[in-house]
């Protein structure tokens, strides 16, 4: 089995691929995070408007050559930008929302469910929207072919799932809790455990890919990706809430993660769409 396989159809590579050239100690990275937050606050106090996420965030080393240097152009969204791709319940199979059922056996790890609602900034549910997740396994290893972190792969866990929100904007996934994993941003860099979420709102301007974290993670303050979100309030919103009512007796731990998309859309001058 040495045939060359095409590199297409692989998930986005994990952050561990790109080793920063300088390999700074954590103390330097932490100091850079603190300084960048202070600088952002100073600029806001001086009257500037900054995005919630700082693209120019050198503590996250791979942002250095990849962040746009010009301010984004303020644009009135038009036509297709005011709508989003149309999904329905037939776009996914029900089983795709259970990441523990994709193989012959059960994956190793702490079984969990995560559920929540997808809402717009007016608090209205977003129905029939595609929600995709991907994550490392319980040992902190992605199945991605470029992930060389020497933690075990789990033959019973791929780590990708998707679902479509129901009539009230609800989604629900069953999975196992991902582990933290090392990456090469700096010496002894570890990502807090997280699940990637990809969301479509009712307009393409609301398209978002984000991450859900877990309560009380000691790595939060050390992680330049998490800290590229400049306000504590916004960072807190990315933490799933442990909800004992969602915990199933003798089966799984339950987390709630509601997602609010922001940005202009066309829905408030359109009638509600029929299912």
């Amino acid at each position: 089995m040495t045939t060359q396989t095409s590199p297409t159809a692989v998930a986005p590579a994990p952050e561990s691929l790109l080793a920063a050239p300088d390999q700074a100690p954590q103390s330097d990275i932490t100091a850079e995070i603190v300084a960048a937050h202070a600088e952002a606050e100073r600029r806001i106090a001086a009257g500037e408007t900054l995005p919630a996420t700082l693209y120019d965030f050198p503590a996250y080393r791979s942002s250095i050559l990849r962040h746009p240097t010009k301010n984004p152009r303020l644009v009135d969204p038009e036509t297709i930008e005011l709508l989003s791709p149309a999904f329905g319940q037939r776009d996914v199979a029900a089983i795709e929302s259970d990441l523990t059922l994709q193989h012959m056996g059960e994956p190793i790890g702490e079984r969990m469910t995560v559920e929540g609602r997808l809402l717009d900034s007016w608090g209205r549910p977003l129905r029939n929207q595609l929600v995709e997740i991907w994550q490392a396994n319980s040992a902190g290893r992605y199945i991605h072919q470029r992930d060389q972190h020497p933690a075990p792969l789990d033959p019973n866990f791929t780590g990708a799932g998707r679902t479509v929100t129901d009539g009230q904007g609800h989604y629900r996934f069953t999975t196992i809790k991902p582990g933290p994993y090392p990456w090469r941003n700096h010496v002894n860099a570890w990502r807090p455990a997280h699940i990637h979420f990809s969301i479509f709102g009712s307009s393409f301007t609301q398209r978002i890919i984000t991450q859900m974290y877990f309560p009380g993670d000691p790595l939060f303050a050390l992680d330049p990706i998490y800290q590229s979100i400049r306000s504590q309030k916004d960072r807190d919103r990315l933490i799933g809430v442990y909800d004992h009512d969602l915990t199933s007796p003798e089966f799984s731990m339950g987390y709630r993660f509601d997602i609010v998309v922001d940005g202009p859309d066309a829905t408030w001058f359109e009638p509600e769409e029929e299912n």
Binding site: Y55, R66, D76, T79, L83, F87, V92, I209
Partner: protein
């Protein structure tokens, strides 16, 4: 997900380009999504943008860049209302980008519509050029995305 239409079907074309960083180096881990009107200008509303039925045009595509930083879609020309400049809505993701970036790729042909476009009219010529795709000899479209530096693509806030 990068085949919005069947390759080589009537009206199909390849929309492709390279994603580069501030040193001009190819980005091998970018994800590009496009969302577009059909050639007659209608906005696809039929469900099935994820699991396509093989004949309905759903207008949404997703492509990962190759090790050489290149992305490609099989799709067809977007249309627009008369007098309006047709474009693809683009979203770009990559490692090192803590959030998405929005941009547009306009079709190059309708110069009157391009001249009348309110967004393009507000840009300097070198900025404007970053938003207009070029037509390849095969009838496809070429559109590079430069995240930083010389000829940096114009990205949007809404």
């Amino acid at each position: 997900m990068n085949q919005i239409v069947h390759p080589h079907s009537p009206g199909s074309l390849v929309l492709g380009g390279t994603v580069t960083d501030g040193n001009g180096a190819a980005i091998p881990d970018a994800l590009i999504e496009i969302w577009q009107a059909d050639t007659d200008g209608t906005i696809p509303r039929a469900r099935g943008a994820c699991r396509r039925d093989g004949h309905t045009f759903t207008g949404f595509g997703r492509a990962f860049t190759t090790d050489e930083g290149r992305y490609e879609f099989w799709t067809r020309n977007p249309g627009a209302e008369p007098g309006k400049a047709p474009f693809f809505a683009f979203v770009v993701y990559a490692r090192g980008l803590p959030d998405k970036l929005h941009t547009r790729a306009y079709l190059p042909e309708d110069e009157a519509a391009l001249a009348a476009d309110p967004l393009l009219a507000g840009l300097a010529p070198e900025e404007r050029a970053t938003l207009i795709a070029s037509r390849t000899p095969e009838g496809g479209l070429h559109f590079d995305v430069r995240l930083q530096g010389e000829k940096e693509t114009v990205f949007f806030a809404y």
